[in-house]
C-alpha cells in the first residue's frame, strides 16, 4: 500500500508504506539482523547444542545398552521395605527399553536447552540495551515518541528471534536424534506425548526467557549491568536458589513446601516448566513454573515500559 502525501512547494512527498501495527516490528527485526550479534550468538548456540548432543547421545547409548542387557532382578538386602521397593522400581525402569527410549528422546530432542536459553536471555537484553549503548534510542524515540510501542515492537521481534533459535536448534537435534535412533534400530518416539511435551515446553522456555530478557534490558539500561544481571539470574540464580531454599528448609522452616516454593526464582521456574518429569521430588507442577515465568516476564516488562516512558533520554 502506498499513499502519496500532499507536500508544499520545495518539499518532496514521502509516501506512506507498511501497515501501522507492523512497522515497528519490522524496524526492530531489521535492527536485529543488521548487526552481527544475532549470528554470533547463533553460532554460540549451535556449538553449545553440539556439545550437549554429544553428551546426551553418549548417555543415551549407555542407558539403552543397560536396558537391553540381561534384566535379571535386583535383590536388596538390609534395607527398609519401602526403600527396597523404590530401588527395585528404579532398577526395573533402567531395564525397561521403552522407558529408556522415551527418556533418551526427550533429552536428545531438547539438547542444548540450558545454555541456549541463557544466550536468548542475553541476546534479547542486548536488543534493548544496544539502543542506549550506541545512543540510537534518540533516533528511535524521535521516530516513535510513544515509547511503550517501541518496547512492544522489541518484544515481538525478540520472541520471534527466540523462536528462530528454537527451530534451528530443534532441527539440529532432530537430525542427530533420528540418525542415532536409526542406528540403534529403535523408534525415535516422536509420536509419544512425553517426548512431544518436552519439545513444546522447550519452545515455551525460549519464549519466556526472550520476554524476560527484553524486560531486563528495559529495566537495566546499562549494557554491562544488564548482561551481568542476566548471567546472575540465570546461572547463579539456579544453583544459588536451590542452596538458599535448602538452607531455609534445614534451619528455619522444616517443611517440604519450602523446597516447592523455590519455583519463585525464574531460573528454577524455567526448569520446572520445561522438565517433563518432576525436577526434584518436592517440585511444583510444570504449569506453576509457567505461571511464575509469565509473572516475572510481565513484571519486568511492565516496570521496564513504565520506566522507559518516564525516563529522560540524554
Amino acid at each position: 500500500m502506498s499513499v502519496a502525501t500532499h507536500a508544499p512547494a520545495g518539499r518532496t512527498a514521502v509516501p506512506h508504506t507498511g501497515t501501522p501495527g507492523l512497522r515497528l516490528i519490522r524496524s526492530e527485526i531489521s535492527k536485529i539482523f543488521s548487526t552481527n550479534a544475532w549470528w554470533l550468538f547463533g553460532i554460540g548456540t549451535l556449538v553449545v547444542t553440539g556439545l550437549a548432543l554429544w553428551a546426551n547421545l553418549a548417555q543415551a547409548a549407555g542407558d539403552l545398552a543397560t536396558a537391553r542387557g540381561p534384566a535379571g532382578s535386583l535383590t536388596v538386602e538390609g534395607a527398609a521395605p519401602a526403600e527396597a521397593a523404590r530401588a527395585q522400581a528404579e532398577f526395573a525402569a533402567q531395564h525397561d527399553l521403552h522407558t529408556q527410549v522415551i527418556k533418551a528422546a526427550g533429552n536428545i530432542f531438547t539438547a542444548g536447552q540450558f545454555f541456549g536459553l541463557m544466550l536468548v536471555l542475553l541476546l534479547t537484553a542486548l536488543v534493548v540495551t544496544n539502543e542506549y549503548q550506541y545512543q540510537t534510542a534518540t533516533a528511535t524515540f524521535l521516530t516513535t515518541p510513544h515509547r511503550s510501542r517501541v518496547v512492544l515492537g522489541k518484544l515481538v521481534a525478540g520472541t520471534g528471534l527466540a523462536m528462530l533459535y528454537f527451530v534451528v536448534t530443534l532441527g539440529v537435534d532432530l537430525v542427530a536424534g533420528l540418525i542415532f535412533f536409526n542406528a540403534e534400530h529403535l523408534s525415535a518416539s516422536l509420536g509419544e506425548w512425553p517426548v512431544q511435551r518436552a519439545i513444546l515446553f522447550n519452545a515455551l522456555g525460549y519464549l519466556a526467557w526472550a520476554v524476560l530478557g527484553i524486560g531486563l534490558g528495559t529495566l537495566i539500561r546499562n549494557q554491562i549491568g544488564s548482561v551481568v544481571t542476566s548471567l546472575v539470574v540465570y546461572l547463579v540464580g539456579y544453583a544459588g536458589t536451590i542452596i538458599v531454599f535448602q538452607l531455609i528448609r534445614l534451619y528455619l522452616i522444616h517443611r517440604d513446601g519450602v523446597l516447592t516454593a523455590a519455583v519463585a526464582a525464574p531460573s528454577i521456574a524455567s526448569q520446572v516448566m520445561i522438565s517433563p518429569e518432576k525436577l526434584y521430588p518436592q517440585s511444583a507442577a510444570w504449569w506453576v513454573g509457567a505461571l511464575v515465568m509469565l509473572g516475572w516476564s510481565i513484571l519486568a516488562g511492565g516496570v521496564g515500559i513504565m520506566l522507559t516512558r518516564r525516563r529522560d533520554i540524554s
Binding site: 508544499p8 512547494a9 518539499r11 518532496t12 512527498a13 506512506h16 552481527n36 515518541p145 529522560d312
Partner: protein, 301 residues
C-alpha cells in the same frame, strides 16, 4: 498553525540541584535560520531535547506548530533533528541505520538511498558506522533528519567535525531549506559561522534567555556604529571633526571614528581636503557581542 513555528514558554528543567533550563521563553519563525547560542552548559541541548519529548520538562511548554512533539501525528515527517554525531550502532551500515528508521516511520526503504544521495554519503552507504569519520557521521545525522522531508529542523552543533568544505555545504543546505519556508533552529559554538548563516538569534546563558532578535539588531544593540579609516594626514582630519566626536588611533595607523557613518566621514574628508585610503563601517562582530552578553554567566554550574 502548520507554519512550523517553535514556541518555548516558561520552560524549566531542574536536575537535582541544577536549574539547567530556567523559565525560558522564545519563539522561532519559519522561513528563517535561527541560531541558538549559549556557553557550554547553558541548557541548549536540554532545551532541544525537551522540544523533542526526550527530556521531560519540570515546568513550561515547548511546542512545534502549536503541538507538543509527542502529539504530532507524523513526527519525523514534521520535525527532523540531529542531536549527537554518534547516534548509530558501530556495527551497522549507514544505509541500514536509515532503513530501520524508514520502516518504523512507514517510509519506503528507498528513501534511505535518497537522503544518502542528498548528503553525499552514497559511496559510504554500505560501510559500517565505525568506519565513518566525524564529518561523515554528521552527514548521516543530517540524512536521518531529512528522511521525512520535515517542515522543521532542529540541529544541535551540526557543524562539529565538518571540514571547511563541509561547513560551507551545511551552510548552503540550511539556507536553502529556510528559503523553502522551513523552520531551521541550529545551535552552534562557531560564532563567525553563525554570523554568516543565521537570520535570527536566540542567546541563552545559565538556562535563561539573554537576548532574542535578528543578528543585525543584536549586534547593533551592543555598540554604536563606527567607521574605520586610513589617511596620510590623520591630524588634519581629526582637527576637521566635531570636537565631541570620539576618535581612537589604532596601532596599525588606522583611525576609528565613533558615532558617524562612512558617508558622513567621507564628505567631511572631502571638504577638509584630506585623502582617504580606506573607509569602512566597523561593526563589532558577533563574537564580541556574545562574550559581552554572556560575561560571567558561563561558569560551571
Amino acid at each position: 498553525m502548520s507554519d512550523g513555528q517553535i514556541a518555548v514558554l516558561g520552560l524549566t528543567k531542574v536536575y537535582r540541584k541544577v536549574r539547567a533550563v530556567d523559565d525560558l521563553s522564545f519563539t522561532v519563525e519559519a522561513g528563517r535560520v535561527t541560531g541558538f547560542l549559549g556557553p557550554n552548559g547553558a541548557g541548549k541541548t536540554t532545551t532541544l531535547r525537551m522540544l523533542l519529548n526526550l527530556v521531560r520538562p519540570t515546568a513550561g511548554t515547548a511546542t512545534i506548530g502549536g503541538r507538543r512533539y509527542a502529539d504530532l501525528t507524523d513526527p519525523i515527517r514534521t520535525v527532523g533533528a540531529i542531536l549527537e554525531a554518534s547516534g548509530a550502532h558501530r556495527g551497522r551500515t549507514g544505509r541500514n541505520h536509515l532503513r530501520m528508521l524508514c520502516y518504523a516511520a512507514g517510509m519506503p526503504a528507498s528513501r534511505a538511498d535518497e537522503v544518502l544521495e542528498l548528503v553525499g554519503l552514497t559511496p559510504a552507504a554500505k560501510r559500517k558506522f565505525k568506519g565513518y569519520s566525524l564529518g561523515m557521521r554528521q552527514r548521516l545525522g543530517i540524512a536521518a533528519a531529512m528522511l521525512g522531508d520535515p517542515q522543521v529542523l532542529l540541529l544541535d552543533e551540526p557543524a562539529n567535525g565538518l571540514d571547511p568544505e563541509g561547513i560551507r555545504w551545511m551552510r548552503d543546505l540550511l539556507k536553502r531549506l529556510a528559503d523553502e519556508g522551513r523552520t531551521v533552529l541550529v545551535s552552534s559554538h562557531l560564532l563567525a559561522e553563525m554570523e554568516i548563516l543565521a537570520d535570527d538569534l536566540v542567546i541563552i546563558a545559565a538556562g535563561q534567555l539573554v537576548r532574542q532578535g535578528t543578528v543585525t539588531d543584536i549586534i547593533d544593540s551592543m555598540g554604536a556604529p563606527q567607521v574605520r579609516l586610513r589617511t596620510p594626514e590623520p591630524d588634519k582630519l581629526i582637527a576637521a571633526l566635531d570636537k565631541a566626536t570620539v576618535v581612537r588611533r589604532n596601532d596599525d595607523g588606522s583611525l576609528i571614528v565613533a558615532g558617524m557613518d562612512p558617508a558622513g566621514v567621507g564628505d567631511l574628508a572631502l571638504r577638509a581636503g584630506v585623502a582617504l585610503h580606506e573607509l569602512v563601517a566597523d561593526r563589532p562582530d558577533l563574537e564580541n557581542v556574545f562574550l559581552e552578553l554572556t560575561a560571567g554567566k558561563a561558569t560551571i554550574r
